[in-house]
């Protein structure tokens, strides 16, 4: 297809995103973003509540995310549009909520992308240090990794997520290899759980406090919804990819906890930068060290890659509806990607990475995610109320409604409390940001939005309207 040909029959032909993805890509997108959380970050929950506290957090937050995955599978297999939860909110709750959800997504993913790129830079600095060069400047590598992944995203979604599948699978395998390498069938040989595990250092309040970083084990799995407009068969692939994704993560999270808590004293683990890599160092096996170094590298790269994909989809669909400047709603006529959104997010991600505010950025990212999970149960209940079962075609119907929604809501409230323990100021600062942004949307931005056009689903009128 030449450029001129497309140009001439522009009136007939639409340039949209390309439908090329299968369930494997959905899995790669979801798990790819998250898996880095097993290599770093989750262990801060050990610092907040002790090793057992972190294990409880791992499973309780795992339950939270299972609810997220169930709810998302139903809604997104029905509202199959780029922007994921943003498009869901737009159809079910209304424009202002949609604007906020879109912002949560863009913020959470762009900030996570910055953190991932920094990790790659730091790992290279460690490598250089070990080879005798201590003064490596990680910045060019941070920019390079962001630029490379942006290029990949720019040139097409299929290649992007196929690569993500390969490196995510490799990173997952590195965790499995480490687990086998520490001989779990011979407790005491390498693993020292008996000597290392202590009682809860803070009691039960510490367990709740550790929920905050327990989110790291799974943060981003809900990103699978962003691919809705690019999968071949959304109603089948999205639930399949998301559900297998959450299972993979539950396994990876438990294995990670088991290996690390059996090798590292909890006080060290609670503040370590790269806990799995440290665990591999403790085994004394060079092979395992190399595997885990590469695994950490791959996991960070896969995560940044998926984040670029998701953040740009959310930004793009907001632009398309004019929630954001409409200029961003363009699709590349050859590569069929939201190229302007991908481009604009490069300098933003780089600036997040270079401000030296990594802690702030990560906290903001987690909290934006948490706000998104709080939105989901409200959304789910309204979805079933406005369109009861049987009134529209649903790709997947999750069981036990409204139990998952209620559980999810209760867990979100608890996690807000956990965040308040220690990170109260950041929580308030972030709430003020979203409140000001909402006012800006209502008073200024919404006037550019076409009212009826944003409701694109082929559904009957909702009940009660």
């Amino acid at each position: 297809m030449t450029a001129q040909a497309t140009n001439s029959d522009a009136s007939q032909e639409r340039v949209g995103l390309l439908r090329v993805l299968g369930p494997v890509h959905v899995w790669a997108l979801g798990v790819g973003i998250v898996l880095v959380g097993e290599f770093m970050g989750w262990n801060f929950s050990v610092g907040k509540g002790g090793a057992f506290g972190a294990l409880i957090a791992c499973w309780v937050i795992g339950l939270l995310y299972t609810c997220v995955a169930m709810i998302d599978s139903e809604v997104t297999s029905t509202v199959a549009a780029a922007g994921g939860q943003y498009a869901q909110a737009k159809h079910i709750m209304g424009p202002l909520m949609a604007f906020n959800v879109g912002l949560y997504l863009v913020m959470a993913y762009t900030m996570l992308e910055a953190a991932d790129a920094l990790i790659v830079g730091d790992l290279l600095a460690i490598l250089a240090g070990q080879s005798g060069y201590d003064a490596l400047d990680p910045r060019p590598f941070v920019v390079l990794i962001i630029a490379l992944l942006a290029l990949l995203n720019y040139r097409g979604v299929f290649m992007t997520l196929s690569l993500n599948f390969v490196i995510t699978a490799a990173a997952f395998v590195s965790i499995l290899i480490l687990f086998i390498g520490v001989k779990p069938w011979q407790p005491g040989a390498i693993l020292q759980h008996q000597g290392l595990l202590t009682e809860l250092p803070y009691g039960w309040i510490g367990v709740i406090a550790s929920f905050q970083f327990g989110i790291w084990y799974y943060l981003g799995i809900e990103g699978t919804c962003q691919a809705a407009e690019e999968v071949r068969s959304p109603s089948r692939s999205l639930p399949l990819g998301t559900m297998t994704g959450i299972m993979t993560l539950l396994i990876a999270a438990t294995l990670t906890w088991y290996v690390c808590s059996g090798l590292l004293p909890w006080q060290y683990l609670g503040q370590a930068t790269v806990p799995l890599y440290d665990a591999s160092r403790m085994t004394g096996s060079l092979m395992l060290q190399i595997f885990l170094f590469v695994g950490t590298m791959f996991a960070a790269t896969a995560s940044a890659n998926g984040c670029i994909n998701d953040a740009s989809r959310a930004w793009f669909s907001m632009g398309r509806d004019r929630y954001m400047p409409q200029w961003f709603g363009a699709v590349h006529p050859v590569y069929r990607t939201p190229y302007r959104s991908i481009l604009i997010l490069i300098p933003i991600a780089v600036s997040f990475a270079f401000t030296g505010l990594l802690d702030q950025v990560i906290t903001f990212s987690i909290l934006s995610g948490l706000l998104g999970y709080t939105f989901m149960p409200i959304n789910m209940i309204l979805f079933r109320r406005k369109w009861p079962l049987g009134t529209i075609r649903r790709g997947y119907v999750h069981p036990f409604h409204p139990l998952p929604a209620i559980v999810l809501m209760a867990l979100c409230v608890t996690t807000f409390f956990a965040t308040y323990l220690g990170f109260g100021t950041q929580l308030l600062a972030m709430m003020i940001f979203y409140i000001v942004a909402s006012l800006w949307f209502v008073l200024h931005r919404y006037k550019f939005v076409r009212r009826a056009d944003q409701f694109t689903m082929n559904w009957p009128k909702p009940l009660g309207y």
Partner: protein, 61 residues
Amino acid sequence: MWIILEYAAWAIAAGILLWMIMDAARVNRQFDEDTLMSSKEGVDELLEHGDVPEAVEGTKG
């Protein structure tokens, strides 16, 4: 060796960014804005293709 790599990383990153910006500018020139903006939210196409297979409501609830 690492110093060379640092400079190489800067150079490659700059090259990639430059290429993307030039490509974006080229696309902006070659296509009119309406074509670029013509994508629609996905669902209509989805239903037309009968892409929702055994998705009958209430099957599992």
